[in-house]
């Protein structure tokens, strides 16, 4: 593998960089990491990460604490150099051309800070100028971003007077100033109350609808599943699954399905029958609710047979429900030690 920084570019360096970047920009991936590794001393935070996110996706990165999400995000944001590996953002080598990449990305960390001595408008003006916006275009862009994040009325307020939710929205407004192609959002809803989270979610929807690529990590998984077109699961520095939400759920779900049966008559008859049935395990009964739950690892024919047996055995079924695993179930299982293998 060609390590970054070892490339000799010759005399007309800027021209060669421009040509190379223009060529790279044609690629389809918004994010592409190859064999990425991050170490903190002897602690290995990310190992061999191969992540590919197509342009226009809203990609959720899920994993328990210490999975390596924040390290990955910092490298994607060009804030940190990996031990080794390649990172291409919007087709450009982020380790070789960080300044070029920075024109195209926006990074929003969790618990985003704001300068206490500036007003919201001044804060946005500073960053708009840093991205090369000037004059009327700058003012218009700031107005647009404030409006998109519903912060227009706070323009002259000091940053230090904002609530947590407003702070995140102002940082989001700052992230939008230069129309980034890729947004990297690390726990954007961290520390926010439900109302503020709902506001932020609305703002993120606007961004996603505009066709930008977004990579987001969050612990509020129902929101992620709702919003993301694809997700990746990280554990102990490795990406263990990646794809659409349903693909990842089916890929990561246990082979057994959890089935819940609600009855009209007494549960005892059904319980005795299920105990003797094939493919059934982990049976639990709730007599008061007239409900039985069990794991079933048979195929669809075996499941159909089981329903027939229950009915013919005298059980009056009110419902026979197969419980779907959610991304949240998988996350909880991942977070529990020894529940899921690393691979």
């Amino acid at each position: 593998m060609q390590m970054s920084g070892h490339v000799f570019l010759g005399r007309n360096r800027n021209f060669q960089i421009r040509c190379r970047i223009e060529k790279q920009e044609q690629e389809d991936w918004a994010i592409q990491t190859i064999d990425l590794r991050v170490d903190y001393g002897e602690t290995n935070a990310v190992r061999g990460l191969n992540l590919q996110v197509p342009r226009g996706e809203v990609y959720g990165l899920v994993g328990p604490n210490g999975a390596g999400k924040t390290s990955t995000f910092k490298i994607l944001a060009t804030l940190m150099e990996p031990t080794y590996g390649e990172v291409r953002l919007c087709g450009i080598d982020a380790l070789l051309y960080p300044r070029e990449v920075r024109h195209r990305i926006a990074y929003m960390p969790d618990l985003a800070p704001l300068p206490s001595d500036l007003k919201c408008g001044e804060f946005l003006e500073m960053f708009a100028a840093a991205y090369g916006l000037r004059g009327k275009a700058k003012r218009a862009r700031i107005d647009e971003c404030l409006e998109a994040t519903q912060m227009t009325e706070k323009r002259t307020a000091f940053c230090k007077t904002l609530s947590r939710g407003m702070t995140q929205r102002l940082v989001l407004a700052k992230s939008l100033l230069h129309n980034p192609e890729l947004m990297i959002l690390d726990e954007p809803a961290s520390g926010m109350d439900p109302m503020a989270r709902a506001d932020l979610r609305r703002a993120l929807r606007v961004i996603a609808d505009a066709g930008r690529t977004v990579i987001v990590s969050s612990h509020i998984l129902s929101e992620l599943a709702d919003m993301c077109t694809s997700v990746g699961l990280m554990k102990k520095g490795k990406l263990i699954a990646s794809g659409s939400v349903s693909d990842v759920v089916s890929q990561m779900s246990r082979p057994q399905r959890r089935i819940s049966v609600r009855l009209v008559n007494d549960v005892e008859i059904a319980r005795q029958l299920l105990q003797k049935a094939n493919h059934v395990s982990d049976l639990t009964t709730d007599a008061a609710a007239k409900t039985i739950r069990f794991d079933f690892d048979g195929n669809e024919d075996a499941q159909s047979e089981l329903i027939s047996d229950l009915i013919s055995g005298g059980s009056k079924l009110r419902s026979f429900e197969e419980q779907q695993s959610t991304i949240e179930d998988i996350f909880i299982e991942m977070s529990e030690p020894n529940k899921m293998s690393d691979e």
Binding site: M1, M3, H6, R37, D39, Y40, G41, E42, R47, G48, A77, T78, L79, M80, E81, T83, Y84, R99, E100, R102, H103, I105, Y107, P109, A112, P113, L114, P115, S116, D117, L118, E122, E125, M126, F127, A129, A130, Y131, G132, L133, R134, G135, A137, K138, R141, E144, C145, A148, K174, L176, H178, N179, V206, A210
Partner: protein, 590 residues
């Protein structure tokens, strides 16, 4: 939401365009809010007016010349400007950047596509903007003094330029401290400490070890030169007969105590000073003081600029790259030798001749230094050179974690070791080059010193350089390998117990008349080895305990030679272990 217009996609303004610099503009807004700025304007104006009038009216009672009055009144204004620029400006720069680093705003700034130079300039001129405004407000007083006092424009331009460069240097030091240290209070203390070291400690103490050029990191040489010229001119305008008085060199100091002759003493003193301070002898050539101070300060500004640039580019990068470190050390040695060697023949290098303290307390005639003083001076020069060398070695030596990271990177591209010039590569080869450069400079200085007319009967033997190189090599390699293998904690403890404590203990022995025990106690200390080695090489002055000092030196050589060999072996073995660890790790991953 609309897409950005083509205009809005334009590149950030060029780095030199300070008016369009976002960081500069941000601080203009936050630092120049009306209420706080108004308070500072009123306060500074009150102080400047008070001290200006005090000096102007006070001078009027002693001198009958409005030009001299105006010149006297400008002094407190310059002092206030200096305090605003050096103290308040330095503090504002340090605290602003540390606060941004603490709050996390600095990370945002790193993510913008601004050029590193634009960021440095923004932080250099933005946070102290209020200080610049306040200095601007005091300018009418300066202009009054310059015009009314008939101060030549060239003089005031030179002083203003050196003031400006010093201000930038001190603000860069503030930025450096804030970049390296993440805690606000500590960064403030370190920043002020470095400024104090450069402006006070270095010119007063370290400069006496031969490192004369350290005084040029301050504004004093240029300021003193012009001050002396103006005083001579003022005194001559009041007393034209002074120019006709013929006084022998040895006699003029007596006028200090003569009744009614104090003014003549001042005239004579500043006349000599203005003649000697106007130019700096650098090797064989003479350089105007202003040009020399300006160049020396620009060298330091450039070095600190590189440090900050590297740290902002990568938070884990060493302060200086290994090769740039060689350039910095080489530059320091050239400045040291260039300014100190010409002072040897004239005797100006010797504290016993050149300083009041030396004349009062050091045994020497007015024109001749003793052999012990020469050895002490050379030893002090070697000691300071080793300190600077070790400081630089520390910045280029990789930590254990850094070395492992380098090994992993190297392993990935099929190399056995990290590149020697990279941050993660071993610093051993650069340490050896630094040690040899330091030894060469020390040898050159010592040889010139003992070849001079001050010591007609002493000279270094032919085998002096290998011995001096061994002293530097052993001390530097022990320092570097201990740091690389065991880390900073063990290194500083070793220095404390091996190099400093024995020296302190020997001091106690010397004053309690246990001279021989004291001499042998100095033997483990690298700091004492400089003096002890010279005693061996020059056959010392007629010291009673010459034999014991020579023994102490050989003990040092044996001990540090042994330690160097052991530490190098341990270092190689540790490196092999880590290489194996990384190799096994990559095999497992495959």
């Amino acid at each position: 939401m609309s897409e950005a217009t083509p205009e809005s996609k334009s590149r950030p303004a060029p780095a030199w365009n300070l008016a369009a610099n976002p960081i500069f503009r941000r601080y203009c807004k936050s630092q120049l809010r009306p209420v706080s700025t108004g308070f500072w304007i009123v306060t500074v104006l009150i102080f400047v007016t008070f001290f200006f009038l005090l000096a102007y009216i006070g001078a009027g009672k002693q001198w009958d010349d409005p030009a001299i009055q105006a010149r006297a009144a400008i002094i407190p204004v310059i002092i206030i400007q200096g305090i605003l620029l050096m103290v308040f400006g330095n503090g504002a720069t340090t605290l602003a950047y540390v606060r941004e680093a603490e709050e996390g705003i600095a990370s945002y700034q790193r993510l913008t596509p601004m050029k590193p130079l634009a960021k440095v300039l923004g932080y250099l001129f933005g946070p102290p903007i209020r200080c610049y405004l306040l200095i601007l407000l005091t300018l009418p007083f300066t202009i009054f003094g310059v015009v009314k006092g008939n101060i030549p424009l060239n003089d005031i331009l030179q002083v203003a330029s050196i003031f400006f460069v010093s201000g930038i240097l001190y603000h860069l030091i503030g930025l450096f401290a804030a970049t390296v240290i993440k805690r606000r209070l500590l960064a403030g203390i370190v920043s002020m400490g470095i400024v104090f070291l450069i402006t006070i400690i270095m010119p007063l103490i370290i400069a006496k070890s031969g490192y004369q050029f350290f005084t040029h990191f301050t504004i004093w040489p240029v300021l003193n030169q012009h001050k002396s010229e103006l005083i001579v001119e003022s005194l001559l305008s009041q007393n034209p007969e002074f120019s006709e008085k013929d006084v022998k060199d040895a006699e003029w100091k007596d006028f200090r105590r003569r009744r009614g002759e104090w003014q003549f003493f001042q005239y004579q003193k500043h006349k000599i000073l203005s003649e000697t301070q106007g130019e700096i002898q650098f090797f064989q050539s003479k350089i105007p003081t202003f040009a020399f101070s300006f160049t020396v300060q620009c060298f330091l500004v450039f070095t600190f600029g590189v440090i900050i640039y590297r740290r902002w580019k990568s938070g884990t990068a060493h302060l200086l790259s290994k090769n740039f470190c060689l350039f910095v050390f080489g530059g320091i040695l050239v400045l040291f030798l260039g300014t100190s060697l010409p002072l040897i023949e004239s005797g100006q290098i010797f504290p016993s001749i050149n300083t009041q303290f030396g004349r009062n307390y050091m045994a020497s005639t007015a024109t001749q230094a003793t052999v012990t003083e020469g050895m002490g001076l050379s030893a002090a020069c070697g000691f300071v050179t080793l300190l600077i060398a070790n400081m630089l070695i520390q910045t280029i030596t990789p930590s254990r974690d850094g070395y492992i990271k380098g090994l992993r990177r190297a392993d990935k591209i099929g190399r056995r070791n990290p590149k020697v010039g990279s941050d993660e590569g071993t610093s051993l080869w650069h340490t050896i080059i630094i040690a040899l450069l330091g030894a060469a400079a020390w040898y050159w200085f010592t040889n010139t010193l003992f070849e001079s007319s001050a010591y007609p009967e002493k000279s270094l033997p032919s085998h002096a350089f290998p011995i001096m190189a061994a002293v530097f090599l052993f001390a530097a390699i022990c320092f570097s390998t201990t740091l690389q293998v065991f880390g900073k904690g063990v290194l500083w403890m070793s220095i404390l117990f091996l190099w400093i404590v024995p020296l302190l203990a020997s001091g106690i022995c010397f004053i309690s008349e246990g001279i021989v025990a004291g001499i042998y106690l100095t033997s483990p200390s690298a700091f004492a080895s400089f003096f002890n080695s010279l005693t061996y090489l020059l056959d010392g002055p007629d010291l009673e305990n010459l034999k014991h000092i020579k023994n102490a030196f050989w003990i040092w050589i044996a001990l540090h030679g042994f330690l160097t060999a052991i530490l190098l072996a341990v270092s190689q073995s540790r490196q092999a272990q880590l290489r194996q660890l990384v190799f096994n790790e990559s095999k497992d991953n495959d």
